[in-house]
Structure formats: structure tokens, C-alpha cells
């Protein structure tokens, strides 16, 4: 697992209070990990803070699974 994926996973576990084995690549924050809409806003904020990037609202809306977040952040951190 990439460094980005590890860091994303850690944030998700901490913020959503879920077991590590549930935080798979295709786990949906709302449907699989019990998040509500406010939790997802906070998650995106935590990703921004951790990776020092800005995630615009339209991009944030497309991040619905753990894998979505990892792929977005892989790209964003590679670009910077």
C-alpha cells in the first residue's frame, strides 16, 4: 500500500471510528463506513490538512470511496 493510502486509511479510521479491516479501497464512506454528510465534509477537510492540498467542492463531491480519496490525493500530491 502506498504512503498516501496508508495516511488516508489512518484518517478514515480516526474520524469515522471504524475497524481497519473495513477501510478497503472500494469502501463507500456513507454506505459502508457509517458516515453522514457532515462526516464527509470533515474527512475532506482532514485530507486537505494532512496533505497540504486544496480539494475544491466539485472534486470533493466525487470522492465517495476510500479509493477515490487515495487516487485524488495521489494525483494532487504528485502534481505539487
Amino acid at each position: 500500500m502506498s504512503d498516501v493510502a496508508e495516511r488516508v486509511k489512518k484518517i478514515v479510521i480516526e474520524h469515522l471510528g471504524v475497524d481497519a479491516d473495513k477501510v478497503t479501497d472500494d469502501a463507500n464512506f456513507i454506505e459502508d463506513l457509517g458516515a453522514d454528510s457532515l462526516d464527509t465534509v470533515e474527512l475532506v477537510m482532514a485530507f486537505e490538512e494532512e496533505f497540504g492540498v486544496e480539494i475544491p467542492d466539485d472534486a470533493a463531491e466525487s470522492i465517495v470511496t476510500v479509493g477515490d480519496a487515495v487516487r485524488f490525493l495521489d494525483k494532487a500530491t504528485a502534481a505539487s
Binding site: H15, G17, L38, V41, E42, M45, E48, E54
Partner: protein, 422 residues
């Protein structure tokens, strides 16, 4: 109007997490005071407080994980956490677990707070200033609103009746119980979880109360002696954190389901000082009218009252104004010698919006155990009175009628009267 009784108690206090442990430590004349832990106090005039003892839950310490999911704890200020813990304890103590839609819809929540999420507001203001609005948490508002104690308790326990909150500074807890009792008496609900919660021991809270000269500052090196209501050396209150909640229900309903009854809420009085934003009216007129209203509602005479749990915050002006009011209530009739009046703030500090609820619980326990809790540190009373101020040690005595006073900034007064139920 329907009769209303108290059937469940819950508490988080500076002495302990839990009603019985707090009560036993209070009766043993223990104090919850100490040097402030958790933030810098070197530049604060007041360096002491009565903080909730945290731990793994053993020895009656407060373990947040026992009361709220860790992921939710991060979203709220401590007053919500304490309020949820006290409400959960009270519902368990009352053995009331509404399962049907009807029962849920007939059970409401009315828990207030004096100032709510002061600490979180201060921290978030710094975040906003340093990092900008995109770093303000989506849980900032919901974790600081005062009525969110009632909100969380309602959601966690599925309580769908009236959902309300009181905000009357240091009278909050008493007003919450009084108002909730009326909702039941008038038929808006059959059960209410009512009380107050507070967590104002943080840098901005201490700085603010110190600025308006409300806090004790002469006892930073002797914290356990700082809260000394009625004593000539008192110089302000000592802040406390925590929460108190009761379960209220109809007398008939409690009897029918075989619930244990701690006491009946027979009197509730309210008044306004119309005098000053922070100072009490030195004549005690507002306090007197609040007590008189409660006595009238209760249908008793002032001489019937066995014990008063005083507001008694240990401020130079407030304690004597209240004593004056109590003397005014009793008048010149004999019977003054029969009254005991103590301030439990000497042991747990001033829990602001939670104070009235925690102190009403002590009143219910005084009735149950026929004992009145002490006023600690009352070495040299500043005034002479024939009222027994219960110095230093708890005292066994007959306790049938009890009055609890709470007075708040803005000149808001509330008095509750409880009665033993045979």
C-alpha cells in the same frame, strides 16, 4: 395539574462520576478543588477549579468512552459529554427505557447549560484566524449549541417528546427541572429528562469570570479552602464542571410501574432582580420573591422547610443577600432554629448551568437519607444567624421539605421545593 415526582438521578461532578459516589464523598466533607489541570494558568488571576476527575472509570473517575462513541466525542464540547453521561445514568436509575412509539413520544428532554461550548468557540476562533474558514469543522456549531445536550440525549435514547433547553446562567439547572415538571403537570409529556451541564473551565472562561471579579483569587495555594460560603474570608466562587440530570414523571405513572420515588416536585418559583447584570440585589428581594412563589405554589408555610440548599456561591455580596432573603422568608415566627441551610458549592464548586440540577439531586438524596450535606470551610461566619449553616460536617436530621435556590447573572432567580413521598 398532575403531581410530578423524581424517579431517576444522574451526575458527573468534580467529586466523582456518578450520584452515589459524589454523595458519599460530599457527606464525608471531601472537596473537589485543586490546581487547574490542562491549560496554562500562570497569567490568570485564578489558578484553581473543581474539575471532573478523568480516568478509566475505576474509583468513580469519568471515562468518556463509557458514555459516548469516541468518534462523537471529538465533535462536541465537554458539557455535551457530561450531560449525555448524566442523562444516561438518570434513565438507567429510573429504569425507564421507552420502546414503543407512544412511550418515546411521551418522553421529552430539557437540559440546559449556562454558556455551552465556550472552549470550542474560543479554539475555533483561533483556527478561523490562523487557517481561514475552510478549516472550521462542520461540527463546530452542533458541538457548541446549548440545546444540543437535549439533542444528543434525544437521539441516543430515542426520546421523541418535547425537546427543549433552558439558558439562564447559574439558574439554568433549576429552571430546567422546574419547567420540565410543568410540562408533565400540564400534560405535554409523561416523562422528562431534565437538568443542566457545563464545561466552562478553560482559559477564556476563567479569564472572563475573573475579569468580572466573580472568582476566588486569594486561595491559589490552598485550593480546597477557597470555596467558603458565609465565611468572613470568602472572596469569590470556585468554578466547577459537570452535569446533573433527573428523570421526572407523573406520581400516578411512577406508582403504576412500581418505580422508586426519590421526592415530589411540589414548588417552583421564578423571579427577576431588575437590578444589575452581575451583582445580586443586596436586599435579596429577587431571591425572596422567588422563594415565596415556590412556597405558595407548594401550598406550605416557610416554617415547614427543613433544609435549604443555598445558591451560596462564596461571593462576598451574594451569600449575605441570600441569607437576608431567607430571614425575610421566615419572618419573625419561631421555627428559624429548625432550618438547616448549607451550600454544597463549598465541596463541588459552582457548576454554573449545572449547579441547580446537581443541587436538586442533593436535595432529593437529603430526603432519602435524612441527612443534610455540609458547608465546608465555614470557620468564621461573616454574619450571625440562628439558621444552622451545617458547618464542616453533614448532619442527620428530619428532612421532609427541601428548598433549592439558584440565582444567575442578569438577575434571574429560581427556587424548587421537593417533598418526601411516603
Amino acid at each position: 395539574m398532575r403531581r410530578v415526582v423524581i424517579t431517576g438521578l444522574g451526575m458527573v461532578s468534580p467529586l466523582a462520576c456518578g450520584v452515589e459516589d459524589t454523595w458519599q464523598r460530599l457527606l464525608a466533607s471531601q472537596s473537589g478543588a485543586g490546581p487547574i489541570q490542562g491549560f496554562e494558568t500562570s497569567d490568570l488571576a485564578c489558578k484553581i477549579a473543581m474539575q471532573v476527575p478523568r480516568g478509566d472509570g475505576s474509583n468513580a473517575t469519568f471515562n468518556p468512552d463509557q458514555w459516548m462513541d469516541p468518534k462523537d466525542q471529538r465533535k462536541v464540547d465537554d458539557y455535551i459529554l457530561y450531560g449525555v453521561a448524566a442523562a444516561t445514568q438518570a434513565l438507567a436509575d429510573a429504569n425507564w427505557k421507552p420502546q414503543t412509539d407512544e412511550d418515546r413520544e411521551r418522553t421529552g428532554v430539557l437540559i440546559g447549560s449556562g454558556i455551552g461550548g465556550l472552549g470550542g468557540i474560543a479554539e475555533t476562533a483561533i483556527t478561523l484566524h490562523e487557517k481561514g474558514p475552510r478549516r472550521v469543522s462542520p461540527f463546530f456549531i452542533s458541538g457548541r449549541l446549548i440545546n444540543l445536550v437535549s439533542g444528543y440525549v434525544s437521539i441516543m435514547h430515542g426520546l421523541k417528546g418535547p425537546n427543549h433547553a433552558v439558558v439562564t446562567a447559574c439558574s439554568t439547572g433549576a429552571h430546567a427541572i422546574g419547567d420540565a415538571a410543568r410540562l408533565i403537570a400540564l400534560g405535554d409529556a409523561d416523562f422528562m429528562v431534565a437538568g443542566g451541564a457545563e464545561s466552562a473551565i478553560n482559559r477564556i472562561g476563567i479569564a472572563g469570570f475573573a475579569a468580572c471579579k466573580a472568582l476566588s483569587t486569594n486561595f491559589n495555594d490552598r485550593p480546597k479552602q477557597a470555596s467558603r460560603p458565609y465565611d468572613r474570608d470568602r472572596d469569590g466562587f470556585v468554578m466547577g464542571d459537570g452535569a446533573g440530570c433527573v428523570v421526572l414523571e407523573t406520581y400516578e405513572g411512577a406508582k403504576a410501574r412500581g418505580a422508586k420515588i426519590y421526592a415530589e416536585v411540589i414548588g417552583y418559583g421564578l423571579s427577576g432582580d431588575a437590578y444589575h447584570i452581575t451583582a445580586p440585589d443586596p436586599t435579596g428581594n429577587g431571591a425572596l420573591r422567588s422563594m415565596r412563589a415556590a412556597v405558595k405554589r407548594a401550598g406550605i408555610t416557610p416554617q415547614d422547610i427543613d433544609y435549604i440548599n443555598a445558591h451560596g456561591t462564596s461571593t462576598p455580596l451574594g451569600d449575605e443577600a441570600e441569607l437576608t432573603a431567607v430571614h425575610g422568608l421566615l419572618g419573625t415566627a419561631d421555627g428559624t432554629n429548625a432550618l438547616s441551610m448549607s451550600s454544597t458549592k463549598s465541596a463541588i464548586g459552582h457548576l454554573l448551568g449545572a449547579a441547580g440540577a446537581v443541587e436538586a439531586i442533593f436535595c432529593a438524596l437529603a430526603i432519602r437519607d435524612q441527612i443534610v450535606p455540609p458547608t465546608l470551610n465555614l470557620d468564621n461566619p461573616s454574619v450571625t444567624t440562628s439558621i444552622d449553616l451545617v458547618p464542616h460536617k453533614a448532619r442527620k436530621r428530619e428532612v421532609e421539605f427541601v428548598l433549592s435556590n439558584s440565582f444567575g447573572f442578569g438577575g434571574t432567580n429560581a427556587s424548587l421545593i421537593l417533598k418526601a413521598v411516603a
